[in-house]
Amino acid sequence: MAQSANVSDKPTWMVFIALIFLTAGTYVISFIGVIKESVEATAWAAMAISTAKAALVVLFFMHLKYEGRWKYTLLIPVAFLAVVLVMALYPDIYTRNQ
């Protein structure tokens, strides 16, 4: 606990400002004409921004950026299975739209 006195709130506020700008970006996307016409374009743009936001929260607020190597052991299998879960259902979307 020797490091307790060094704790600063400043980086937290910087991450907060970045999160607010990115949230505003997601919101604005729904008003942009070209993207509004396409669900797929909106989906890709909005999910890209959301991934950036989630990365900020996970890395800085959940302090994963500063954790040891155990994080890879725990999170890589989870991330892999999570992606497989979504992709496994994709053929159904494709065949239904044929």
Binding site: S4, A5, T12, W13, V57, Y66, L81, A82, L85, L89
Partner: protein
């Protein structure tokens, strides 16, 4: 319990790198199962949403969405709830920083604010649910059936064969309902920490309570960060 890692503070965190307490490992393992749980729900939603032939959007002619803009998923509500959860996440980090500095009173005030923001989130969600239920938009509801039929007819499909109104209602309530239950769970957990913080034994050494709660609350925030575009933004197109 010397595993304190200052939030968003690289220099402070460096000293405790590679140290992993049993409590933190337990929380992360739990969050691992939670990731799988929500990914399953999101996978089903994506499958139904993008595989649907006539998915209801916010603009259904004849369903009076202009008259009552809250009938379908309202992106203004979604954005407001996103802001509420992000702000609450920031306050949890500040509360953890405060307890690490031994500022218990500040920590308590910040946690109470988080508690209130959690209630605001649930209040906004309650208004959304109330509007949907009022118009019969719930699984098996008359409104959901009618809404699906209108969209199917607009696309030249037979409403008796293609009606995605019920699936829209089912996936909406399933995904947001599970998330809302997690928010309620977080509120109860936080209330317990606030009450425990009044005990004389609560001090800087108890920072892990706030840290573990914070990990859970940030996860709930991350889930919502993805639900907002999936359910509200894509719904508006």
């Amino acid at each position: 319990m010397d595993t304190a890692v200052a939030h968003a503070s690289p220099a402070a965190a460096e000293g405790s790198k590679h140290k992993l307490s049993a409590g933190k490992l337990g929380i992360w393992l739990f969050l691992g199962t939670e990731i799988m749980f929500f990914m399953g729900l999101v996978a089903v939603y994506i499958n139904e949403r993008f595989g649907a032939e006539a998915w209801p959007s916010n603009y259904i002619q004849g369903f009076d969405p202009q008259e009552d803009p809250y009938v379908l998923n309202n992106k203004h509500f979604g954005a407001a709830n996103t802001f509420v959860l992000i702000l609450s996440s920031v306050l949890v980090v500040l509360a953890h920083n405060a307890v690490l500095r031994g500022e218990l009173k500040r920590m308590r005030v910040l946690l109470v604010l988080v508690l209130l923001l959690g209630c605001v989130f649930m209040g906004i969600k309650g208004v959304e649910y109330e509007h949907k239920i009022h118009f019969g938009i719930y699984p098996g509801g008359e409104g959901a059936e009618r809404m699906g039929a209108i969209v199917a007819e607009e696309k030249g499909l037979d409403p008796a064969k293609v009606n995605d109104g019920n699936m829209f209602a089912s996936t909406y309530f399933l995904v947001t309902g599970c998330h809302a239950l997690h928010v309620i769970g977080g509120i109860i957990w936080l209330l317990a920490i606030v009450l425990l913080s009044f005990r004389s034994s609560f001090g800087k050494q108890s920072h892990y309570m706030v840290e573990y709660f914070g990990l859970y609350w940030h996860f709930v925030d991350v889930v919502w960060i993805f639900l907002f575009p999936l359910i509200y933004i894509m719904q508006a197109v």
